[in-house]
Assembly symmetry: C2
């Protein structure tokens, strides 16, 4: 277990110079260090693209071995440039980068992109070299994108500061800001976006992220008013706070953020770690935090682009009721299946809607939802128009999918009808056109209508739209609650494992309900404690040297009277002495037996990327076999605690199963919140806290056992197996 403060990377500073990021992404002038007149080379391509695509700012090729490059005057050094330079592109051998960065500092260049490889991706020597470069950049006030990156495009302002293959063809601007940690894969995604007619306002590859990271750059990208949606490809985050700050900024600006993050499982995470040289982080934690902050997670590149397309075309639906309209019963069934699977509702249309649809749809069609207009709409396009209008007018429908296929020879007619639909309806809808003629797809996209390529992808993209709309509504509703969370102050000096009674104090002060717990140093004290608590009780050994009490024979349960408790004291102390003669024995803990039949677990951990995070899950096989848990960043408001419960696959258990009553959900969410505040209060002091089990009853939530470990005040991590 490592401490967050140790992991906090060099390059993450609280304030990223806004002007430096502006200079990086929208420079008024660009110097190219190592520029070449061979436009096929990496060192030639940025200049070629800047010239070809009409960049309006000043361009300064820097190359001591040339007088002019590409028709522009070449400079022997950065220092020789007469004007101001906003951005430098460094296309030099790794060995020359350090000197170049120092020159940039001297010239007061605020931002640089380092294409060069040969840094931390190359092992220890490269890592050391990279560190030196970044130190020089810091010293000179130069912010760095890269090294080992493809650079970036700001298509709005024709800033083509990249050697990516993507730039070799047209790079149309559009409402999507795309930032990628992978160069090659990012290029492929950008090319796929272009094929769809989806304009990327920005394309940025962050490379090694030795200085500026994914989150910092994406945050600046989405601040551009011309960007409506942020799309990101992530292999591993180094700084969780930057990411949550990005997510909050995106939410505040109502700009959805769609990310594909790889390294979800063992083999992938192994590959991600070896590929990026960075810690991939625990994907389950990332997943929970993405949900918490309304970040949309896409499985892969096509899923990402489907979602981005729908988000850039559609306004947000007001609920999760989806209306499916097809010319094929089969496609309707497939979409209804999928809709249900991804949390959408496929409401049966109201009787009035069905009656009205009956009047326009042939008898062998269907009017319930899915609506099957049959192939008849080809002969009678008005049928399509009327049906879609009726379906979307149904009060239970919030968003629609219109499915059809092929239709070579009917493209114009269909596009015209869809244009009319677009003009006449207020609720959002998308088109799923399978095996579509290319002309049809282009025409619809020109009309601002999202076109998906298959039934399931269409449903998945609409689900993302619906879930984002929900997340944003919730975010707005909860903003007050989140602000009102009070973080307590914690004043514990020591580190290491807390004694049971120190744990009790911490729980008490933070409002975490637990079973009555008393330390007894003698058999009589134990019996007195048991009487005060009320029978039955449990008796457990208390020793800083015995963490696994059951293994030491140090636990006796369901004791019903004074005599049994007295003799339990003696037995347990005796067993403990034999188990570990050197162990310091503090006495025994006497505890009441908690009510409730349902086991629950709450934990706190200090995530290396995100800092203190809270985990919740149902006890038993659900957590131990199925790993059915939810994570969030602390602290939480009550609504967020409730979301954690809803994340659990086994959540039905909380509603009462196998003859048990429902548990007290409010008591449980309050407990989760209390623990989350404790986690926030501990901050870097947190090592781990496990409340396991917590017993849930119809009116109670009670922690029965706990293990807490703190880092020492100086941030060091105590060994936790002292015995």
């Amino acid at each position: 277990m490592k401490v967050q403060s140790q992991r906090m990377p060099l390059e993450s500073q609280d304030t990223v110079g806004e002007s430096a990021l502006k200079a990086l992404l929208a420079p008024r002038s660009i110097a190219i260090l190592g520029a070449s007149s061979d436009f096929r080379k990496i060192s030639g391509r940025p200049l070629k693209h800047l010239l070809d695509k009409g960049y309006a700012g000043r361009i300064y090729p820097v190359n001591p071995r040339a007088e002019s490059i590409g028709g522009l005057r070449a400079y022997p050094s950065v220092g020789a440039i007469e004007g101001e330079v906003d951005l430098a592109i460094i296309v030099l051998p790794a060995s020359e980068v350090l000197g170049a960065v120092r020159e940039l500092g001297a010239k007061n260049v605020p931002a640089a992109i380092i294409f060069s490889s040969g840094f931390s991706e190359m092992g220890d020597a490269g890592r050391q070299h990279e560190r030196e470069v970044i130190e020089a950049a810091r010293a000179g006030g130069v912010r760095i994108c890269g090294p080992n990156c493809l650079g970036l495009i700001n298509a709005f302002d024709k800033v083509i500061a990249t050697f990516s293959q993507y730039a070799d063809a047209e790079t149309p601007s559009g409402p999507v800001g795309f930032v990628t940690q992978s160069g090659a894969f990012g290029t492929a995604i950008a090319a796929l976006a272009r094929r769809r007619g989806l304009g990327l306002g920005y394309f940025v590859n962050t490379g090694n992220e030795a200085d500026l990271n994914f989150s910092e750059i994406m945050r600046e990208v989405i601040c551009d008013p011309r960007v409506k949606v942020g799309a990101g490809y992530i292999e591993g985050l180094k700084n969780g706070n930057d990411f949550t700050a990005l997510a909050e900024a995106a939410m505040a600006a109502a700009k959805p953020l769609v990310v594909t993050k790889v390294g979800r499982l063992g083999a992938g995470a192994r590959a991600a770690a070896s590929h990026t040289g960075s810690l991939a982080g625990d994907d389950v934690v990332f997943d929970g935090i993405a949900r918490q902050y309304g970040v949309i997670r896409a499985r892969n590149e096509e899923h990402m682009l489907d979602i981005v397309e729908v988000l850039s075309c559609c306004k947000l639906p007001e609920g999760n009721g989806i209306g499916l309209l097809t010319q094929s019963g089969g496609a309707g069934v497939l979409m209804a299946d999928r809709a249900q699977e991804v949390g959408l509702s496929v409401p049966i249309l109201q009787p009035e809607t069905q009656k009205a649809l009956h009047k326009v749809i042939p008898g062998f069609g269907a009017v319930g939802n899915p609506v099957d207009v049959t192939g008849q709409f080809v002969a009678d396009p008005n049928l399509l128009l009327e049906s879609v209008k009726l379906m979307l007018a149904d009060p239970n429908i919030d968003v629609g999918i219109i499915w059809f296929q092929l239709m070579e020879g009917h493209v114009e007619k269909l596009v015209q009808v869809l244009k009319e639909i677009r003009d006449q309806v207020t609720k959002p809808f998308v088109v799923c056109w399978v095996a579509a003629p290319e002309a049809g797809v282009r025409a619809l996209r020109d009309l601002g209508i999202a076109v998906l390529r298959g039934a399931e992808p269409a449903v998945d993209a609409v689900a993302a739209l619906v879930h984002y709309a929900q997340a944003r509504r919730t975010w707005l509703e909860r903003s007050g609650q989140r602000k009102d969370i009070k973080i307590p102050r914690i004043d514990i000096q020591s580190g290491g494992v807390l004694s049971t009674m120190d744990g009790v104090q911490l729980l008490d002060r933070n409002g975490v309900p637990h079973t009555a717990t008393v330390l007894a140093k003698s058999a009589d004290e134990a019996a007195n404690a048991a009487r005060t608590i009320g029978y039955p009780v449990a008796v457990k050994i208390e020793s800083p040297d015995i963490l696994h009490k059951t293994e030491a024979g140090g636990v006796m349960l369901r004791l019903n009277n004074d005599d049994d408790v007295r003799s339990a004291f003696d037995t347990i102390m005796d067993r403990a002495r034999r188990h570990d003669p050197a162990a310091r024995l503090e006495g025994v803990i006497v505890q009441g037996m908690a009510g409730g039949d349902t086991e629950f677990v709450i934990g706190l951990q200090n995530d290396p990327v995100f800092g203190p995070v809270i985990m919740a899950g149902l006890g038993g096989v659900l957590i131990e076999v199925l790993r059915d848990v939810a994570f969030r960043k602390v602290p939480l408001c009550e609504g967020e605690a409730g979301d954690m419960l809803d994340d659990l696959h086994g959540k039905a258990v909380l509603g009462g199963v196998r003859g048990r009553p429902a548990v007290d959900r409010k008591a449980l969410t309050q407990m989760i919140c209390a623990v989350s505040r404790l986690g926030a209060a501990l901050g870097p002091r947190l090592s781990t806290l496990d409340l396991n089990p917590i017993m849930l009853g119809p009116k109670t939530a009670t922690a029965v056992d706990w293990l807490m470990m703190l880092n020492a005040n100086d941030g060091s991590v105590p060994g936790h197996h002292t015995s």
Copy 2:
């Protein structure tokens, strides 16, 4: 609960005339009833296509209002045709179909396709009409495809007996036989296949399946030696036996069968039932049986075509080790994630392989697996050739994926290298080419190399290949075992709920271990029984009128001596009398307490589509909350029983969790097999059998409670809440 024999549809007969199916799918002559010379019309299109695409057989347009159609002599009636007719296409109004079918019978036409709609898809009147048509067809010996279908294409023999849009363009033949229950969706899928360059040898839409069903037609399709893979789109099966017979035939012929079946969940199943007018059947049952018979299930149309493409290009891999080779670390991570998720292994390459790869791959690449050859391979194609050969030569690798992107301008070079790879390696591999130039994809497909469009789809398709190869190996290994299964004879006359002791007899005779169970009619008998069984015991009321014993206060557990048992007898009998004074009380059941801590459930049901099926699942929340169960068709061999356990998400419980020992897996699989044989023996007599719970210990599997219900000998279903 319905009985299978009641559900057995009219049209399912054991012997489908092979010659009739041959006449349907490869006719030597075709009559078109209702043929029109307007080739834009449904009634004109088949003739147009037959003529245009060069059908070599005789064509007889039948239309009393024309002398000639499309340059061919038209006949006033079928009877007027001088030669033999193999296949009739009926394009008449619904009202004229019955007469036409009678004429076909008189003319001894063996097969007909009915395009016409207006039958069972139109409600009760249509259903009645359809029944009359089928009766006439039976009487005349005519087998029917449809009605309400798009017809079919046999592209090998240019039989274009359809009005589907798909036929409007080229219909190249190829190794894929595609049969679809949906016309519109099937047409879209066929068009998508064509776009991929995937030739469909057959395209068949089965429509209402009033006579010939999906399985019967697909079985004939895969018998064609020119077909290598069967692809199906299913909305609902009417006859489970035909489907399993198809699956067995496909397995025997080593022709993989890939199906997309919709109606997986509530909303989808609702839509499927309303769309097809058929019972969608329980999808969980279908899913289990598909696994059992090695049928590959595809989620959607693109997934289906991805799998079909890989199956038609690749030979079967010998294991599940996948080698991933990319020019992008990110894509490698994404694929490694997905591979693990779908049950593939991503083995780290052997040290010798890594060493050899190091010699050809640049230093910033990766050699572990995923292998990252970096963009360098563009300059040095040999790098790609050598790396792929080395990776595939690794003994832990069974199949490879080669990933790259874009490469406009390098297509020829890449295609050439991939051709060399194809010629030089023996293990199967596929290419994933993201945002590929169209020319590259076509060139590779012409070389017989499967090309996928994205990283996840590539892994998913390879996973299907691997799993099919495993399924086929297993099928061959088990063929002896399956033949050796002995089905016992069951001789029980009565139907309804069986008494506990009749249940004991059935379990005993079929080798299903259960806890010691004795019926006692007096307190003394109960005490004697308890002494014989051994304490502790449970005592339960026995009455044909009390099925919910606990609710009636009729269960007492953990009784430890004779006195307690005697008094339990009195108490329970007394409570039962008060609970239901009219109930017939047989006495009490005395049972030993079974060993083992892990609860399991085995059930038998009579599925309306598949007949007797067996269900297995772990007790507790896993079955009650997460519905974590597996289904198979009975009877089972032991390997198949083991597969059921491996299907369970919570299977780790069987290996021992929370301090419990592993259960006796062999005893459990033997028990599942014994119950499966019992299910097979009961056949249509089976209503339900629940063994719940079964207690599993380290050396035992013991049924503790059971409820059995049989259908009466005459097939009628007894009411089972008689009290």
